[in-house]
Amino acid sequence: MNSQNLPKIVGFLCTWCSYTGADLAGTARMKIPAAIRVIRVMCSGRIDPLFVLKAYLRGADGVMMMGCHPGDCHYQKGNYNTRRRFVMLQNILDTLGLEKERISLWWISASEAPRYAQATNEFTEKISKMGPNLLHDEIFL
């Protein structure tokens, strides 16, 4: 895959689990696709659905929300809220005919470096198959 058709994926990673997991994947020299741009947040509960919408509307081909496994949240319940918000967001996009597959939610713990590598690779592949975000060239947003 060359840089021409490499999708743009925005990842929101919780600092305690997923970001640490991603860090570990890097230390272990696992192959992570260059498509993903990581934004570190203090908790997946900090991922305002508006962040995700903004990324999508501005032309990101995919958005990944990542956090600790349910029950493992550093702040006890942040990721439960994330999960509801994700379900709501996907439902809204689906109802309106927008591509809900472009947003995804992953639980990745601090030790799950291989899972991080697998998640990013799988999602990048899926998004590559879907093709570019149709809203990328849309100027009325």
């Binding site: 439960y80 379900v87 849309e138």
Partner: protein, 370 residues
């Protein structure tokens, strides 16, 4: 079956008589209801304490200048009313008020809630040139026959929640043949029964179902189904949604008129969503052009995320839209689908938490684990 108060007058006169009785007996201090503002058919929600003013009240006028839930919340925001007040409002307005009370934006205490089996309201535009006045007689005819008035708001025509759930009293209108001669007020709660004690008229037993109501419910359900099916078939492609809002001028009137959008400073009116000069440049670096002012689609999608799960389908947003976008159809469609996910009905119960503000540990467990 519940107790009901039957007054031998037309519903419009009957309810005024009853409210007069409540004020005279000191059971309530005032009434919150629609009042005539001029002879051309203009009405406004008013707080009325004097009997003279009460004569100008038109509680069942088929018009919603503003969602009453929003107004009720504004004067019960800090605390419940000190003196008891009766409020006459439509089922969707009542639901909106309950949704606001859940969000600590109002208090139901000390308010006697009077609602009706609703035949719908006319769009705001119908007030122009006194058009609405000419429709009134045909409106009441369709209500009597439990049919759908094609001139009412599209949300009203497809509304199946026209029987109020939490009202203390329900005035039966839909499908009641004799509303010109008799006013039947169903007493749903103990509070309602207490207020109706010794009122002029007879206490009878009556139920909200009258055969015609079920017919109307069916008609409306079909209409809603059709409306949603049309919506779905018109929104299959990602760009369809953008076309729907293509004419949007970004005035945010839909949000300002929405009873659920209670935030004093909306996220989308705040600095957070303001475009800085450099944001234009950076976005133009990514795209071949940019609509200015930007952010309309973001606004609608974002607002949906914030309130659609509590959408009471009052239709205010469509009515206030200066460019005639059917905002309410979009929001009610999304709201309906969200409410199904969480098995939530806005305004069903004051104690029920709003889905976006709560969670359960054992739900949606399939997400995130792929």
């Amino acid at each position: 079956m519940s107790k009901a108060l039957k007054i031998n007058k037309g519903i419009e006169e009957g309810i005024i008589d009853f409210l007069e009785f409540l004020i005279q007996g000191g059971k309530i201090r005032g009434v919150f209801t629609l009042k005539k503002m001029n002879e051309n058919g203009a009405v406004a929600y008013s707080l009325i304490t004097s009997l003279d003013e009460l004569k100008k009240a038109v509680p069942f006028y088929p018009f919603m200048p503003v969602n009453a839930g929003k107004v009720l919340s504004s004067f019960t925001l800090r605390a419940a009313t000190e003196e008891p007040v009766a409020a006459v409002l439509r089922p969707c307005e009542l639901r909106a008020f309950i949704e606001l009370a859940k969000r600590v934006q109002g208090s139901l205490d000390n308010i006697l809630l009077i609602s009706l089996t609703c035949g719908g309201v006319y769009p705001l535009r119908s007030l122009k040139n006194g058009d609405l006045k000419n429709h009134l007689s045909s409106y009441w005819e369709t209500v009597k026959k439990a049919e759908i008035d094609p001139e009412t708001r599209p949300t009203c025509q497809s509304c199946e929640d026209f029987i109020p759930q939490l009202a203390d009293m329900t005035v039966a209108t839909a499908g009641m043949k004799d509303i010109d001669k008799e006013c039947v007020i169903l007493l749903n709660t103990l509070k309602g029964e207490e207020h109706a004690a010794n009122a002029p008229g007879n206490i009878i037993t009556e139920k909200v179902e009258n055969g015609n109501i079920e017919k109307l419910q069916k008609l409306r359900e079909e209409k809603k189904k059709k409306l949603f099916e049309d919506f779905d078939s018109n929104h299959a492609h990602p760009k369809d949604f953008i076309k729907t809002f293509a004419a949007c001028v970004g005035c945010h009137a839909c949000s300002h008129s929405c009873p659920i959008c209670y935030c004093t400073l909306c996220d989308f009116d705040s600095k957070t969503c303001e475009y800085q000069p450099q944001s234009f440049t950076s976005e133009l670096g990514q795209k071949s052009g940019l609509k200015v002012p930007p952010g309309n689609i973001f606004f609608h999608l974002g607002r949906m995320n914030h309130m659609a799960v509590s959408c009471v389908r009052c239709g205010m947003c469509s009515d206030v839209c200066p460019v005639n976008i059917q905002v309410a159809t979009v929001f009610s469609r999304v709201g309906d689908s969200l409410q199904k996910v969480f098995n939530y009905i806005p305004g069903r119960d004051v104690e029920e938490p709003v889905p976006s503000g709560t969670y359960k540990e054992e739900e949606f467990t399939e997400f995130g684990e792929q």
